[in-house]
Amino acid sequence: MGMSSIVKLLKSYPSLPIIAALLVLFSSLSPYFFTAGNAESILLANSVVLIAAVGMTLVFLTGGIDLSIATVISATAVVGGVVMAQTDSVFWGTSAALLAGLLFGLLNGICVGFFGLNPFITTMGTALVARGIAFTLSEGIAVKGTPEVLLDFGFELLWGIPYIMIVGIFIVVICSLAMSKTTWGRQVMLFGSNREAARYCGINTRLIETSVYVLSGLLAGIAGMVSIANLGNALPGVGDTLLLLIIGGVVLGGTHMNGGEGSIMRTVLGVTILATLTSGLNLLGIPFYDQLIVQGVLIFVGYTLAMKLSRT
């Protein structure tokens, strides 16, 4: 591999040096880190964040932000859980969760794309609404009555990979292909790069902007169902602590908040960084609150590095 292809690789994936450093560091500090068992637990613990981070990436690429994504995960999980408790059907539960995610996404998308409202404020409002719905519907406690099939789905592996992570990988692949191989994906990138120029090119900018919020909501719905499979119950507060992890993963990966620069694969790496870090620090027995400090520092360092590398 020549020098220039290394430079190119780092430009496309500016977070690679950090991942490499973390892997080397934790492998040398803990003998359990680099084992199949640990890999499995990392994958199990991070599929929800990964799926949501894909949605957040799409929104970031247009220069927006979806602050509601975390509590929409909670709300859709509760909706799915309640429906499953009534019907004992995973199909109806999933349909209801996806529909709920879609509606939240539409609400954001129409407000931002068609009415030109600020994404930060709009999605903050939606976040509160979703949180309220999650706690009201569940009466503040875990929704019981998850069908056995879904519980099994949450634990079983295919070729050593948990099914719920396969859902995540599937979503990553589909969305990556959509970004690189479809006109829609190209238009999302162009819109994020310069929305006025996109309008002058005859691109339906309202539709493009709306579409990413809708997808983000839909992916939050999938993440909500995956959270039930992962945790066994629909929890009304499941998404509450995830927002910073989701945004952190996207940013660490090197997708720009201003839009037009970034990719889903970058986000995969960004999420991997935070996942590896948590796992490694847990193995080393570092207390939770100290971990937060390390996470915070890493986001500073990683973000700076990502911005520098992707711009050189």
Partner: protein, 504 residues
């Protein structure tokens, strides 16, 4: 002719290198009090780097600088009485004129600014320059021309020796430009030396005493303008003689491609015009005459009332997607704001408006096969100079960016082509190439509308020129009756004279 025996600034073989690559080499000149030196050259010739060294933003890599006879390692700027007005305005839009003027050195103490003194100083400075601007008005409420004057007032407040003006007239109307020139003349009389950077050769010859010409980062000539005819100076800048620029135009067809009837909006009123297939219609006028608003309304970007016909079929109200389907394209005047996707590649920029002309998609919306080859061919056709079509478009020079944008739209095989300032910020070589493209395109039967503030450009390429002033069409000239003086005076005359004007 020098009042002082000693030059206020003298530089000797000034050079600047960035990470080993020399971008400006051997700039040498002497500037005496009250002299105006024009810094000329094509885009990318090194004018900005030179300017930045002269105002203290960059430290030269090599060369000597003498300020009032004393050698200094670099220019400090205001402390030495040197200040610059850059192309991008540096004013705070929400502050008042007085606050802006004094912002670099507010009177009073840091915690207790003396606002009365601020206002007094501002009033004094504006009176000194002989301009009337309300010092308590917010800068954002002023027009571009007045903002430019405030900018100059601010710069000359601290710089009593040398004032550097970088393209100060590009956003000004004719009267505003005259005002600016009179201020420059007054400063000159008071012994302030000026370094004047301008694309407009007529301005250079009207205002400057001497020149420094740069080409590809090297000084290729200096001297007194009275000794060097304009053609010679232009040839020096370009490195070759410029050919006769007016084209031998073909005859357009009789078939009307686009006509508009009584189109109105809040920026223009009851405008009617028609353009035939193969015809190049120039629209002349001043900044702010409503030309861009008019053509953007035709393209469906802005709302307007009135009728638009394409091939005698009514298409209004217009929308961008509808106009695109009808074969209308519009190349914007403001590349950066609404033309380029600056972080994206040349490839993506080229195909942005008409992917279907670049890509064969078996399933609609899916796949980009063939795009690479098609864009490469287009870039070659348009003579775009780029390291690769994957390079981001912001790495290209202004001329090449403009060619990418033109290519983007010409590739869609338009029937009606609206070009708004097609050569703005483009160097002379690229400009001529773009003009050739426009003429060749019209020859194939495309109806072309060119909006331009560069009258020479319109005289060179148009079959017909219409003149717009404050939202009205006020005159029309056929090619055989082109008269630059008449067109300018028609475009620039005040509204009261309007009724007396007779279009020829």
């Amino acid at each position: 002719m020098h009042k002082g025996a000693r030059p206020v600034l003298s530089v000797n073989q000034l050079s600047k290198a960035f990470s080993g690559k020399t971008v400006v080499k051997d700039v040498t000149f002497e500037l005496y009090p009250g002299e105006i030196l024009a810094l000329v050259g094509e885009n990318g010739a090194g004018k900005s780097t030179t300017k930045n060294m002269l105002c203290g933003l960059l430290t030269p890599t090599l060369g000597q600088i003498f300020v009032e006879g004393e050698e200094v390692p670099e220019i400090q700027g205001v402390e030495q009485g040197i200040s610059a007005v850059h192309q991008e305005l540096s004013l705070f839009p929400s502050l008042t004129v007085a606050e802006n003027l004094c912002i670099n050195d507010l009177p009073g103490s840091a915690l207790n600014v003396d606002w009365h003194e601020t206002q007094r100083l501002a009033t004094e400075q504006l009176a000194f320059l002989g301009v009337e601007i309300d010092i308590l008005a917010n800068v954002e409420s002023l027009g571009a021309g007045k903002q430019q004057i405030v900018e100059i007032a601010k710069a000359s407040m601290h710089a009593n020796k040398i004032l550097i003006l970088d393209e100060p007239t590009t956003s000004l109307t004719v009267p505003e430009r005259e005002k600016l020139f009179s201020i420059m003349r007054m400063l000159k009389e008071r012994g302030v030396a000026m370094i004047f950077i301008s694309h407009f050769m007529d301005e250079v010859y009207a205002m400057a005493d001497k020149f420094v010409a740069l080409r590809d980062g090297t000084q290729v000539g200096t001297g007194y303008l009275k000794d060097v005819p304009r053609r010679e100076l232009e040839a020096l800048m370009v490195g070759r003689a410029i050919g006769e620029s007016a084209f031998d135009l073909h005859k357009p067809s009789e078939k009307i491609a686009l006509s508009i009837n009584n189109l109105s909006s809040h920026r223009f009123d009851k405008v009617s015009l028609a353009v035939a297939s193969g015809e190049i219609l120039g629209i002349a006028g001043l900044m702010g005459a409503g030309r861009t608003e008019l053509v953007e309304s035709i393209f469906g970007i802005r709302a307007a009332s009135g009728d638009i016909y394409i091939d005698n079929e009514q298409v209004s109200p217009a929308s961008v997607s509808k106009m695109k389907k009808k074969g209308v394209v519009y190349v914007t005047e403001d590349r950066r704001k609404n033309g380029m996707f600056s972080g994206r590649s040349v490839k993506e920029n080229s195909s942005a408006a008409g992917l279907s002309y670049f890509v064969k998609q078996l399933v609609k919306g899916l796949g980009f096969s063939g795009e690479r080859e098609a864009v490469a061919r287009l870039s070659q056709d348009m003579n775009v100079s780029t390291p690769s079509i994957d390079a981001s478009v912001r790495q290209l020079s202004g001329g090449n960016q403009q060619k990418v944008l033109l290519g983007r739209w010409l590739a869609t095989k338009p029937k009606i082509c609206i070009l708004d300032e097609p050569t703005k910020g483009v160097d002379i070589g690229a400009k001529f190439e773009i003009h050739k493209k426009i003429v060749a395109f019209a020859k194939q039967g495309v109806a072309v509308i060119v909006v331009s503030s560069d009258l020479q450009e319109l005289l060179d390429v148009s079959h017909r020129i219409m003149v717009m002033r404050t939202g009205h069409m006020v005159g029309e000239f056929e090619r055989e009756n082109f008269d630059a003086v008449k067109i300018i005076s028609l475009a620039a005359s005040s509204v009261h004279e309007q009724s007396q004007q007779v279009a020829s």
